[in-house]
Every structure is written in C-alpha cells, then in structure tokens.
C-alpha cells in the first residue's frame, strides 16, 4: 500500500477525511495525526477502526467530545453578508438552536413565536420551516432599526432570542428595550466595531439585573465553550472588547429562562 484515502465514521455517516495519506501517527491523547502526499496535515480525535490495505482505505471512528452540561439556547442571525439590509430588500433571519453559536442536533421547536417591533408597532412574524432550518421572513421593510425576537417554551425551559436589524444606514437613535422578561440590550447601538469595546445592559422586566453572568461568543470561534464571561455591574451593564470579525452572541440565564442577543456587525 503506497497511500490510502482516510474515511471517518461520524454520527451522520461515513465521510472522506483526507485523500492520498502516506503517514498516520496515533497520539497519546486519542488524536490521530495524518499527512498526505500533497503535504496537507490534519489531527482528529478518533481511533482506527479498519485498514483495508488492498483497497487503499483506512476507516477511523470519531471520538465524540463530551457535551457541555448547559441548556440549549436560541439565537437569530440576519440573512445578509454585510450586516444590514437596504430599504425594500426582503428581510429574513435564521433561527438557530444550540450553544456557543454552534447549532446542536435538536432542530425541533416547541411553542415557538416571533415578533418584530418597527416604527409601525409590534407584529407577530410567520416562521418558515425549511426541512429543519427555521427562517423568519419580514418582507421589504422601511428604512430604520427593527427589533426582532423569538421565544420558545419547552416544558419548564424557556428560551428568548433577540436581535437588532438595520435597514438602511446610520441609525443611532432612540432605541428602547422591547420589555422582554429577560433582555440583553446594547447601551449604544452606534458603536459595534472590532477593536473597540461594546457595552450591553441586562434587563429583567425592564429593570437592570445586577451581578449576573453574561456569556459572549463570536461566529466561527474554535472554543468549545463561550470564550468570554462577564458579570453585570450595579447598573446591569457589562462590557466586551471586540476582537473578532462577524457577529457576536451575548447570552444570559436566569432560572429556567435563557435569553440571547445577537450583535450584528458590518465588518
């Protein structure tokens, strides 16, 4: 056998992991290092399940990481690649369930509702299920800032997800919290840039929640758990220095309720 294709068995089925591998080195920490003839390298947590030398084929079995003892949370992300929509453009948002901005295996929702607050008032939104992928479609909205939230009740667990959606540019004015039971709200919407601090406020029924832990993460983090944890001060505020591109997610828990806020950045 000169070189082999390496496959891995995951929960979702077998998939090709690397082609033309000519070196495999098992590590002491249940990791397997591999290198192919093109010089590409990979390390995976797995064990060797089968080596079919005649067929130039090695099959690995994935070692699954222990799941974190945390509740799943909801979060919303606008379907735009540059942080905002333009007036009249169809505004859509995706709804996710998981942890640390990583969607989990559970795609079922119970008692799900979604709402938007715009200059025209509050209205309930239709939620579309595209084969397990949930989407909120608002339609063509007027220039301004929209507050969107979704809520789910599953037994004693309740989840809230909120986001501010910018339609048009340069809206820095007059935003008020939506008055959710547990809400994370930016203290100054105009400043959301990488390389600067961003401040949020945690409110419970509109009142500042003091001394509560706020988790923060960002899209594409390589950490298994939330990379940032802060505690709200006597005004219910917490501050985070933004060091990553893309969207951030803030999350707070109080009893059986978990509430998230997605910070949408243009850059």
């Amino acid at each position: 056998m000169c070189e082999a294709n390496v496959y891995i068995n995951r929960v979702s089925g077998e998939e090709l992991l690397m082609e033309k591998v000519d070196r495999i080195v098992p590590g002491e920490d249940q990791s397997i290092f591999m290198e192919n003839i093109f010089g590409e390298r990979k390390v995976v947590k797995a064990r060797i399940r089968e080596m079919e030398l005649v067929h130039h084929r090695v099959v690995l079995e994935e070692i699954r990481e222990e799941s974190h003892p945390v509740h799943e949370e909801l979060w919303l992300e606008p379907s735009t690649d540059h942080g905002h929509f333009h007036e009249g453009e169809q505004v859509t948002l995706k709804l996710f369930k998981g942890y640390n901005m990583k969607p989990g295996p559970d795609t079922a929702f119970a008692g799900l509702k979604a709402f938007v607050v715009s200059s025209e008032g509050t209205r309930e939104l239709n939620i579309h299920d595209h084969h397990g992928s949930y989407e909120l479609v608002l339609g063509g909205e007027n220039d301004g800032l929209l507050q969107v939230w979704a809520e789910e009740s599953e037994g004693s667990s309740r989840r809230l997800a909120s986001v501010l959606v910018e339609v048009g540019h340069h809206h820095h004015h007059g935003l008020k919290p939506a008055g959710l039971e547990l809400e994370i709200f930016p203290t100054d919407y105009s400043h959301a840039r990488m390389g600067e601090s961003y401040e949020i406020k945690v409110l419970q029924h509109g009142q500042p929640l003091v001394g509560v832990e706020v988790r923060a993460t960002f899209a594409g983090t390589q950490q298994k758990d939330y990379p940032h944890r802060m505690v709200t001060n006597e005004e219910g505020k917490a501050r985070l220095f933004l060091t990553s591109r893309g969207n951030y997610l803030f999350s707070v828990s109080e009893g059986d309720l978990i509430s998230t806020f997605t910070l949408v950045k243009s850059f």
Binding site: G195, F241, S266
Partner: protein
Amino acid sequence: MCKNMPPLELAIQFHGHICPGLLIGVRAAELAQKQLEVGQDSDEELVAIVENDNCSVDAIQSILGCTFGKGNLVFKDYGKNVYTIISRDSGRALRIAQKFGSTAGPASERFRELGGKPILTDEEAGEKETLIGEIFEKIMSMPAEDLFAWQEVVVELPQRASIRKTVRCDSCGEGVMETRASSRDGQILCPECQLK
C-alpha cells in the same frame, strides 16, 4: 460594500488575517494620520519609509495608501519596527519607532510558540484564539505613548515614481524596463539574461 470600511478592517482584508504585527502597523498608521493630519494617499502625497518587511507594513500600505506598486513605499532592510511617514503637501515627516518590549509578555511568547507549530490540536487552536484576543485588546487599547516613540524629522523627499520606457530583451524576448536593461556585445539584455 456600502459602508466605509474602518482602518482596522482595511488592514485585515489586505493582509488576510489578524496578528500582532498587523495591529502594530494599524496603530502606527493611525498615529501618523493623527499627527500629520493626513488621510489615505491617493497619488503619492504620502511616502512611507519602513525599516522592516513584516506584517505591520501591510497595515501601512492598506491604511495610508503607501504601496509597493505606487512606489511611495520605501523599504530599508534594518529589521526594526520603525516607520517614517512623509507628507509631501505639508513637508512634514514623522518617525515612529515601536518601544522595545512594549508588547512583550507571556501571551505574546506563547502565541509565538504556537505560531511555530506546523499543526495545532483543537485545544491549541482554541488557546491561540484566546491569546490573539488578549494581545489584540492590549495593542489596540494601549496608550500610543506606551507603544511608540515618535518625533518630527527632516528627511530628503524621495523622488516621485516615474514611468520608464519598456524595451525588448534580445535574449528572452520579454519586455524590460529601460533602466534595468544593459547592453552586452551589441545586445540589450534584461537582468536575468545578463546572469546567464
């Protein structure tokens, strides 16, 4: 993109990733803009003399517009994080030097150590992400006085880049800038063919 890109984003898009060296360049470029009251170069109003060829120079190019292609980026191979930015319009020049050890610390050491590894485990990749976050905040939040020493200096203004005639190399047939070609045995040769 319909929103103005912040300087930091300009640098990251140009360079391709975030790293400590790039952030040093971002701070130096922004300091030069503030002190010299200039923006981004359009057509050689600014000149940058850089004394290294590390990541920071990509921030100088993308934010100040002093680029290799325009000819208003002058490289001196001294291996020093020193940047002299010149404004042709005002005649002012600012020399910015990173203070020795200003960004040193355990996080930088460990980041450098991980950067030297050809491949990282998941845990190390996560650690590296945490470290760059810490270093990022430190460099971008640090008072300029702690990061750099700077002073206005008098420098001879470099000539503006000039466009030269292209001639044909008699050996390889390719075009070569007239001032880089030479004549040997009655033939015009490009530098490469002169070495054959």
